[in-house]
């Protein structure tokens, strides 16, 4: 039986036993949860015991594509890594663009489950329906570009796409990421550390298999319609042809650019940073597979202390982290810092966050030169930043403490450090300020992955920047009419809708930037129906989003997450000191949270009600939750 638009097989690689098995992709699971984070959540819910140590062989990592990956659908060049996070200890997922995802599907697989752990370093070579575990002693310890080059050379297929970890992943830095082609990263939550703990250095994929489409001719027409919708949006100023960094100035004006470790939301000193970047350092745009927006940037610094080769970056988050968050105003150190994070395999958000955290702790006297290997960790010192990146990647000296992430580091430092630390569930705050748009506070608090701006979606974009994400027919108020500073509990409904839709993106495994360009639930539902042959509409897609979000929540509840873990750090609730949000704090967070719980049908402790889980078709999860209460 053909499962249209899926490759039909999922690889299971057991590194302890050195076995490889190809299992059928299950139609029932695919219909209920699509692919990506949905399908992976089902696997991890069924197969992980609660409370396993994320860095033990008992943890698993699932690398998944989705039903329309590689079919030419807009934004379909993505793949997802799902796991129990070494950083947070709860549900972890990272989405990544590039070409690796489509190539995995062309190689004949919808996903790879990696379980157990190898004693010696290995890499996987997946090609044309087959897979091999190959020794990687020779490349262990190498940086990302050298690893990619060595793997491609050894397998003899220059077109192969290689996912890999750098030294940071090998050293189990808790926020080490997974790199693809030195410019795309499954960055957050420590997927790289997990691969490192399993001694997996790389996964190379190549194939030329076809993806069966249920109604190919009609699918082609629907693709054309979507393409035109995207162009219409791009031509009217939508989308991300200027890359995410193009939004930097806007964020600064809206007070959405966390500054001085979240003390405030804007900084005048960086008002010409983006223009400077475009004029001097940007070489060109680069796209993921099949993408019309090409938000990726190719840049370099030609000479001086921050010189880099040509590479892909930097993005908005990285730039914000290495500029305003740490009071550093130049773009050159950012390009260098980004390059170093890329080659060592570090998440740039958490890395820059940890450096700014060290700066504020140093300023407040919580740490001294004795703790920092003699470094003066002063605000805005670019050389210190560059120095610390290497220390973190190799866990050298002071870097070893920072490599643990902000929650653990703050616990070890003690004193006021824990009050200052900006995180939810152990995930470091990214660079959007919830004081600039209050719905973001709900997302930060309740996202299954912790303080995360993009799983399930960036709600600030609706409130501050007027993005409707194609959701107005599904109940989103006109974004122009929303007061971004209001903390009315009704904001919970905006958060719910936007986050469900964002969750769908990670299950279809599409780039979320395509939800900004005239491609709403109906358009993707049409593509999915024609590709799979199933009957599905926009409302059904949103229901799937709800289902996956609640499955993720149940996973976290099983790991002990409750209402207390949904609270925001106090520092980000305090009034901002400058800019357009000067004097604005967050005062009714609990009111908005209560309403969100009601909408989600969670009890006062944040546990989903069994009736709701049953209604979503998650019967076994409902039984578990019911037994928990009894």
């Amino acid at each position: 039986m053909v499962l249209y638009s899926y490759a039909g097989k999922i690889l299971r690689v057991n590194l302890s036993k050195k076995t490889i098995k190809a299992e059928d992709t299950r139609k029932d699971v695919a219909q209920l949860l699509l692919g990506g984070n949905g399908y992976a959540a089902k696997i991890l819910w069924d197969e992980l015991k609660p409370g396993v140590d994320p860095l033990s062989p008992e943890n698993k990592i699932v690398l998944m594509t989705g039903p329309i990956t590689g079919t030419g659908a807009p934004g379909s060049g993505f793949w997802e890594a799902c796991f129990k996070s070494p950083l947070t200890g709860v549900w972890g997922e990272s989405a990544c663009g590039g070409w690796w995802g489509p190539m995995l599907k062309f190689a004949g697989f919808d996903g790879i489950i990696i379980e157990g752990a190898s004693k010696d370093p290995v890499y996987l070579w997946v090609h044309d329906g087959e897979a091999e575990i190959k020794p990687a002693e020779g490349i262990w310890g190498q940086t990302v570009p050298k690893t990619e080059e060595a793997v491609r050379k050894e397998i003899g297929v220059p077109q192969a796409r290689v996912l890999s970890i750098g030294p940071a992943g090998e050293k189990l830095v808790r926020f080490a990421g997974i790199a693809v082609d030195l410019e795309r990263y499954a960055g957050r939550k420590g997927g790289g550390a997990l691969l490192g703990s399993k001694k997996v250095k790389a996964v190379a994929v190549y194939g030329e298999k076809e993806i069966p489409i249920a109604k190919p001719a009609e699918y082609g027409k629907a693709l054309k319609e979507c393409e035109q919708a995207v162009y219409a949006s791009l031509n009217s100023g939508g989308g991300f042809p200027n890359g995410t960094l193009g939004g930097y100035d806007g964020c600064n004006q809206f007070g959405d650019l966390p500054t001085k470790y979240g003390e405030t939301g804007s900084w005048e000193a960086v008002s010409d940073l983006y223009v400077n970047f475009v004029n001097k350092y940007l070489l060109k745009n680069r796209a993921c597979f099949g993408c019309m927006q090409a938000c990726g940037r190719v840049s370099r610094v030609e000479e001086g202390p921050f010189a880099t080769p040509v590479y892909g970056g930097p993005e908005y988050e990285t730039t914000a982290g290495f500029t305003t968050f740490a009071l550093q105003k130049d773009i050159e150190p950012v390009i260098k810092a980004n390059y170093l994070c890329n080659i060592y395999g570090l998440d740039t958000i958490s890395t820059s966050h940890m450096i700014a955290f060290a700066m504020i702790c140093y300023e407040k006297g919580l740490i001294t030169k004795k703790d920092t290997d003699g470094l003066e960790v002063k605000w805005g010192d670019a050389n210190v930043m560059i120095n610390l990146i290497e220390k973190i990647a190799y866990r050298e000296g002071f870097g070893d403490l920072l490599a643990e992430g902000v929650r653990r580091a703050a616990e070890k430092i003690g004193g006021d450090a824990q009050k200052i630390a900006l995180h939810v569930k152990g995930l470091e705050m990214p660079y959007h300020d919830p004081r600039a748009g209050k719905t973001q506070a709900i997302e930060y608090g309740t996202s299954n992955t912790g303080m995360d701006h993009f799983h399930a979606h960036e709600t600030l974009d609706v409130e501050c920047y007027g993005a409707d994400l194609g959701l107005i027919p599904f109940g989103l108020p006109d974004p122009k009419t929303i007061d971004r500073f209001s903390e009315d509990p009704s904001k919970a409904s905006i958060a719910k809708l936007v986050m469900d839709w964002g969750t769908v993106a990670d299950a279809l495994v599409i780039c979320k930037f395509h939800q900004y360009v005239n491609l709403g639930p109906d358009k993707y539902a049409k593509l999915l129906s024609l590709a799979t042959g199933w009957k599905i509409d926009g409302w059904e897609l949103l229901k799937i989003g709800d289902r996956i979000f609640n499955l993720g929540r149940a996973f976290n509840v099983r790991e002990g997450i409750r209402r207390k873990d949904d609270m925001l750090p106090p520092r980000i609730m305090q009034p901002a000191t400058t800019g357009s949000t000067k004097g604005v704090g967050i005062t009714n967070y609990e009111g908005m949270l209560n309403e969100f719980y009601k909408l989600e049908e969670w009890d006062e402790n944040g546990i989903p009600k069994p009736e709701k889980l049953k209604r979503l078709g998650l019967d076994d999860v409902a039984s578990y939750i019911a037994s928990l209460k009894a």
Partner: protein, 170 residues
């Protein structure tokens, strides 16, 4: 008027929509694209490599009439006479661009045919990297583009090493 494809690699973002469009137009599969995109890191050019209708495939082909030239567009077309069983894929070996393949299912060689006069790759490219132009105009287009890019960035910044070498010859 004879036609040609003009490729501005400096603009290419590597999205592969040209490949996708080519595949969908001809076979609805990805792998058989006649456009080939070679992405090489650091110091090398990147962008689509397209058939320039140079005719080396026809020159190498041992079967008379298996590859013919459409006099209107200038495209070399593979005909029903093509029979890969009776050759060693000489056309594939002869192609300097790697854009002609033997399709085992169709049992014949496949190559760019300008999609009968409206190339899909050209229509699909979001950044206008590939243009379908009169065969005589690529040189003029190239010079215009070089001038544009020079205004925007220094030549050293805009062009990678290998393309600078090529520029010297323009």
């Amino acid at each position: 008027m004879m036609k040609a494809l003009f490729v501005d690699q400096e603009k290419c973002t590597g999205c592969r929509r040209c490949e996708l469009a080519c595949s969908f137009f001809h076979f609805q599969t990805y792998s058989l694209s006649r456009v080939r995109l070679h992405i090489v890191r650091d110091g090398e050019a990147e962008g689509p490599v397209v058939c320039v209708q140079c005719g080396l495939c026809q020159y190498a082909c041992p079967i008379k009439g298996a590859i013919i030239r459409n006099k209107k567009t200038g495209a070399f077309l593979v005909t029903a006479k093509c029979n890969p069983k009776s050759c060693n894929g000489e056309c594939v070996n002869a192609c300097p661009y790697g854009v002609i393949h033997i399709d085992l299912k169709l049992k014949r060689a496949i190559k760019c045919d300008f999609c009968g006069g409206s190339p899909s790759c050209v229509n699909a490219c979001p950044w206008n990297v590939i243009q379908y132009v009169d065969a005589g105009s690529p040189y003029a287009l190239n010079n215009k583009r070089v001038a544009e890019v020079r205004r925007r960035w220094s030549v050293e910044r805009a062009y990678t090493k290998s393309s600078l070498e090529a520029l010297k010859k323009v």
